[in-house]
């Protein structure tokens, strides 16, 4: 098997550089395997975050030849023979060391999501939900929190200052999950539009393109949320309908 030419980002918050490594290719490997072999044989101090090696823990997120990807789900045979594989840390988040970034931004934003506030129980003391009422949310729960969608989103990738008022696609699917929940009584639409930057998303769908779980983040979460905001805020007919019929989808909901 021919050698693989690998460029790895080595450095920390004080700076860094791309370092070349040459390593023998092996059949059936993924990029994470190559990184581990480099770590084992040539760069024992290389920092890399990983866990399951099965595309389910979301730990080994990085950028491979500029594309946000999971290292454990990117096979080495997709590259042309002789092509250099460049592996860099996620661009959107502060560097800790080498391929490891500080993704705490996402968890800080997650803390801001108003939790499920269920409506009162039925007379028999139970909650009842039907499958068709929770189908949509189940897609969102496939999220493995790899934060590749957050990484690729240009709103914060190219404009760090927007992090102060932009939750990002991973959080938007969390909001969508809760907003569409059949039992929930919290109305997060004002929060989303005013504080969490839903309006800043210009739906260029990069989050959907990089999602390793193939969640239709834009079509099934962000756009439906935007449409709900339109109905709640910008649609005079919807407003009139609510006034006349005294009801709406948010009739049992309270704004947070």
């Amino acid at each position: 098997m021919p050698d693989l030419n690998v460029k790895l980002w080595r450095g920390d918050e004080n700076g860094g550089e791309l370092v070349d490594y040459k390593i023998e290719a092996q059949e059936g490997e993924v990029v994470l395997d190559v990184v581990h072999r480099i770590q084992a044989t040539q760069a024992p101090d290389l920092a890399v975050r990983w866990n399951c090696k099965a595309g389910k823990c979301g730990s080994c997120s990085a950028e491979i030849n500029g594309k946000p990807s999971l290292m454990c789900m990117t096979r080495t045979n997709v590259f042309e023979p002789g092509q250099t594989i460049t592996i860099t840390p996620m661009k959107t988040f502060p560097i800790i060391r080498d391929l490891v970034t500080d993704v705490s931004f996402n968890f800080k934003m997650l803390k801001q999501v108003p939790a499920l506030k269920p409506k009162p129980k039925e007379k028999d003391g139970t909650y009842r939900m039907f499958q068709q009422d929770i189908d949509r949310g189940q897609e969102f729960r496939k999220c493995i929190e790899c934060f590749l969608c957050q990484d690729v989103c240009h709103v914060i990738r190219d404009h760090d200052d927007n992090k102060m008022h932009y939750a990002g696609p991973r959080l938007f699917i969390r909001y969508a999950d809760l907003e569409m929940h059949p039992l929930d009584t919290n109305d997060r639409l004002d929060l989303l539009q005013d504080k969490m930057g839903l309006g800043m998303c210009n739906i260029t769908k990069c989050c959907t393109e990089v999602c390793p779980e193939h969640i239709h983040i834009t079509d099934n979460a962000i756009i439906p949320l935007k449409e709900r905001v339109v109905g709640d805020r910008y649609d005079p007919l919807a407003w009139l309908g609510k006034k006349i019929f005294k009801k709406s989808k948010t009739s049992e909901k309270q704004k947070v």
Partner: protein, 286 residues
């Protein structure tokens, strides 16, 4: 420079007026280059730009042409076809070659297409797919995924003028009306002289045009929301749930329908122009 948002939610419980402290400006890893992508990421935005630019050029020419958009009687000859260009339908001015509804009087001297095209243009400009297309290929925001955009500031659709894209559903209401009118035009294309029913190549083109326009209109994200997407309890709204599921089948192909309908509507207009101007003869199947 590292700065911290001072609006801190100290007890970590939700507070509408507070955002948890977010550190910004800390050093990032990786080289400071536009992109490290090695694939030909620029092809898609380039093709999109070319496609939309060509349509704008053609559409402008078709709109100001103000001639050869109706085939029934032209230059004293009876062509015997009932084809009205979709760029001019419904024709609402007195100066139309074929007036659908006389709304604008003789004072209106411009091309009747200019009035009509405001609605489909608004629908497509505010369409969720076309927004992605022009943000990427015209405004480079971003030109492609993980490719650095050139703008220093970004506010997206949270401020004027882009916040106006929220008007999309109103253009959708108009688009449904236009799709119905283009369907009538397709039905009229089966009408031949002396009250006979027939079908020419143009009839087939009009039918395909109506089908594509309906597919594009019904696969719209606003349609998906209005038919049922806004509902949380589908179990209590089975009919709307049924509609929502049907729209959800075609919604993922919205981009495809957007392009097909765009190209085909221009082709339909051009075909009508060729027939109306006597450049080609429309073959009759039966």
């Amino acid at each position: 420079m590292t700065t911290t948002n001072t609006e801190t939610d100290s007890n970590n419980s939700f507070n509408n007026s507070a955002i948890t402290a977010v550190e910004i400006g800390k050093p990032k890893g990786g080289p400071n280059v536009k992109t490290l992508r090695q694939d030909r990421w620029w092809i898609q935005p380039t093709l999109t730009f070319i496609g939309l630019f060509l349509f704008v050029v053609y559409g402008s020419w078709a709109a100001i042409r103000n001639n050869d958009y109706y085939t029934a009687n032209i230059l004293g000859r009876t062509i015997g076809r009932n084809y009205l260009s979709p760029f001019y339908s419904p024709c609402i001015a007195n100066n139309c070659q074929y007036t659908t509804v006389p709304i604008l009087g003789s004072w209106y001297k411009l091309s009747p297409a200019i009035i009509i095209l405001i609605f489909p243009m608004g629908f497509r400009l505010s369409c969720y797919y076309y927004r992605k297309a022009y943000y990427r290929s015209f405004w480079f925001s971003p030109p492609a995924c993980a490719v650095k955009e050139p703008h220093k500031k970004y506010s997206g659709e949270s401020k004027f003028p882009l916040i106006m894209n929220n008007i999309h559903r109103y253009f959708w209401y108009a688009a449904v009306l236009f799709a119905a009118i283009l369907t009538l035009d397709a039905i009229n294309a089966f009408r031949f002289p002396n009250g006979s029913i027939g079908m020419g190549l143009g009839t087939l083109i009009f039918v395909i045009n109506a089908v594509l326009i309906w597919l594009y209109t019904l696969s719209c994200h606003s349609c998906r929301h209005l038919t049922g997407g806004r509902i949380n309890l589908f179990s209590k709204a089975p009919i709307r749930h049924w509609f929502w599921k049907k729209v959800s089948i075609i919604n993922p192909h919205h981009m495809l329908y957007a392009w097909l309908s765009l190209v085909w509507i221009a082709f339909t207009d051009f075909y009508v122009y060729l027939v109306a101007s006597g450049t080609i003869h429309d073959p009759r199947f039966f």
